[in-house]
């Protein structure tokens, strides 16, 4: 009985030393994964995912505190690429965070704006031009459509406008789902969840 304890004890210590040495030699610092996740997120900094911006949400995902389907502006493409990166199952968007809308841009009705700079402080990407008591306006090309400026405005002069489509930004539509996927009684089941 004693020899059994002795043998296993020696074995344990021997391997412990080996692992200690390996742990030192293969030390890992920093976590490049947060960078990768942040690169996928759409950077609207809107906070709909419950985190104050995309970077905090990325770190939360990296250490498994947050799920990957809480980003409405990113919508399905972000969820699928996050699932791809992290090897998880893509889940539909979490309704509680909002639903996926076409890209919007904020617009200030200049006749109502009183120049109170509340929206300027709220904008996460500084895309509102203006100063105290001066006219405010939104730089359309910089606005990410995060809607954070709509709430603070005391006179509600900001509303969201869909982005204007021009000939260059026009996209070819996806070909219609094949007729054989429409059931015999006409109710077409959705495009196969081929997206994984």
């Amino acid at each position: 009985m004693l020899s059994a304890l002795l043998a296993l004890g020696v074995l344990g210590i021997l391997f412990g030393l080996l692992l200690g040495y390996a742990a030192v030699r293969y030390k890992v610092e920093g976590d490049p994964l947060v960078e990768k996740i942040d690169a996928i997120l759409p950077q609207t900094q809107c906070g709909q995912c419950g985190y104050p911006g995309c970077r905090p949400y990325a770190t939360a995902i990296a250490n498994d505190e947050a799920d990957i389907n809480r980003c409405p502006p990113g919508g399905e493409t972000v969820i699928v690429s996050l699932a791809d990166l992290l090897g998880r199952d893509p889940k539909p968007l979490d309704e509680e965070c909002g639903e996926e809308k076409p890209k919007m841009v904020a617009y200030i009705h200049e006749e109502i704006c009183i120049g109170c700079t509340l929206c300027i402080q709220a904008c996460p990407v500084d895309s509102i031009l203006g100063a105290a008591k001066q006219m405010h306006t939104i730089i359309e090309s910089e606005c990410t459509g995060c809607e954070l400026c709509v709430a603070p405005c005391p006179v509600d002069c900001i509303d969201m406008v869909p982005v204007r489509q021009s000939l260059d930004t026009w996209k070819w539509p996806a070909p219609p789902p094949p007729p054989y996927e429409q059931a015999a009684d006409g109710s077409s089941n959705p495009q196969p969840a081929g997206a994984h």
Binding site: P175, Y180, Q182, A184, N189
Partner: protein, 347 residues
């Protein structure tokens, strides 16, 4: 009047999936006639049962998935799979064998994966392997060609055997059936007598392969050539299968003619030609890139020989095809052709 605006191109060559499948079925007809000439009405009856089961199970699955029946039943892919499976089943096998095999093939082998175009395995082979493993006895009860037995089993008697297991003149089923040439070769080799002795005294062996079987093989070969000429199947797979089988069997045959039969015997024996031209070239489960098809065919040829020479199953065509079906996605991934404008090396 709103103009139609589909994306280009606006014209089409007019070939349709069903025309492809019907051509393959047509290529099988002469071989079936020759088969019936040698081995009686068993195949015709089995084919009829198989096709009926195929259409029934396809319709059932399409109904379950709420899909329109019209385009799918008409495309002939289910009928083709059923016909190929019927060709691999012994002619006098009981009817429930055929029904079970075809139903399993189509439901599990094809429709569980999403129907036409999505099944990774060849449905006919899935059904055949399931039958071979589950009912070894019925599946090895083959028929010798009639000219050897000097007795013809008429149509009615064959029906009787298949449906009611009732045999004419009180014969027992075992008296009637015999081993296939491949089977006979494997067992006799087991008792380590040489190939030449085996083929000499056993009437089963015709001039270069099993009697009867060699003619069926020739007709299948002609059917296969017709399909290649009509560009219905790619030439790479049959050439690779037969070529690799010929090379490896010739190598071993030259090394030791007594224990390893001749390449011709291997090629015309069993279902090699049927597999090379009709089963392995099923586009859905095979590899799609030109280089990939050659690798896929070579793989099938080698596995057929390995199992026939050292394995325990006499005719390993089904296993070879399934194993290479398994490897097809990986082969496709690594054998992409060089695209226009890309340097030779880097892709």
């Amino acid at each position: 009047m709103t103009l139609q605006t589909p994306p280009s191109p606006h014209i089409h060559s007019g070939i349709h999936v069903s025309s492809l499948m019907l051509r393959v079925i047509a290529a099988l007809i002469p071989a079936i006639i020759c088969y019936t000439w040698f081995f009686g009405w068993g195949l015709i009856i089995n084919s009829a049962i198989a096709m009926l089961t195929a259409l029934a199970s396809e319709a059932l699955m399409l109904k379950l998935r709420k899909r329109p029946l019209k385009p799918f039943l008409g495309d002939g892919s289910a009928v083709l799979s059923a016909l190929l499976l019927a060709l691999c089943i012994p002619p006098l096998a009981p009817w429930w064998i055929t029904v079970l095999g075809v139903a399993f093939a189509l439901i599990v082998g094809k429709h569980l994966y999403g129907g036409l175009g999505y099944n990774p395995f060849n449905p006919a082979m899935v059904g055949y392997v399931m039958l071979l493993i589950s009912f070894p006895l019925e599946m090895t009860r083959w028929m010798p060609p009639f000219i050897l037995e000097q007795l013809e089993i008429g149509f009615i008697d064959t029906l009787g055997v298949i449906f009611f297991n009732h045999l004419p003149y009180g014969l027992s089923i075992d008296a009637l059936s015999s081993a296939t040439p491949l089977d006979a070769m494997k067992t006799d080799l087991g008792q380590n007598n040489t190939v030449s002795e085996i083929t000499a005294n056993n009437a089963l062996f015709g001039d270069f392969a099993g009697t009867g079987w060699e003619w069926v093989g020739t007709w299948l070969l002609l059917g296969g050539m017709y399909l290649i000429y009509k560009r219905v199947i790619s030439w790479q797979i049959p050439l690779a299968v037969i070529g690799s089988l010929f090379v490896i069997s010739a190598f071993f045959f030259l090394m030791d003619p007594d224990t390893y039969p001749s390449p011709l015997f291997h090629i015309f024996g069993g279902a090699t030609i049927l597999a090379a031209f009709f089963i392995a070239t099923d586009p859905v489960s095979a590899s799609t890139t030109p280089k990939g098809r050659i690798l896929y065919g070579i793989g099938i040829g080698i596995i057929i020989y390995v199992i026939r020479a050292w394995g325990s199953y006499p005719d390993a065509v089904a296993f070879a095809v399934l194993l290479m079906n398994m490897a097809a996605p990986t082969i496709d991934y690594y054998t992409q052709p060089r695209v226009y404008g890309h340097a030779r090396g880097k892709d």
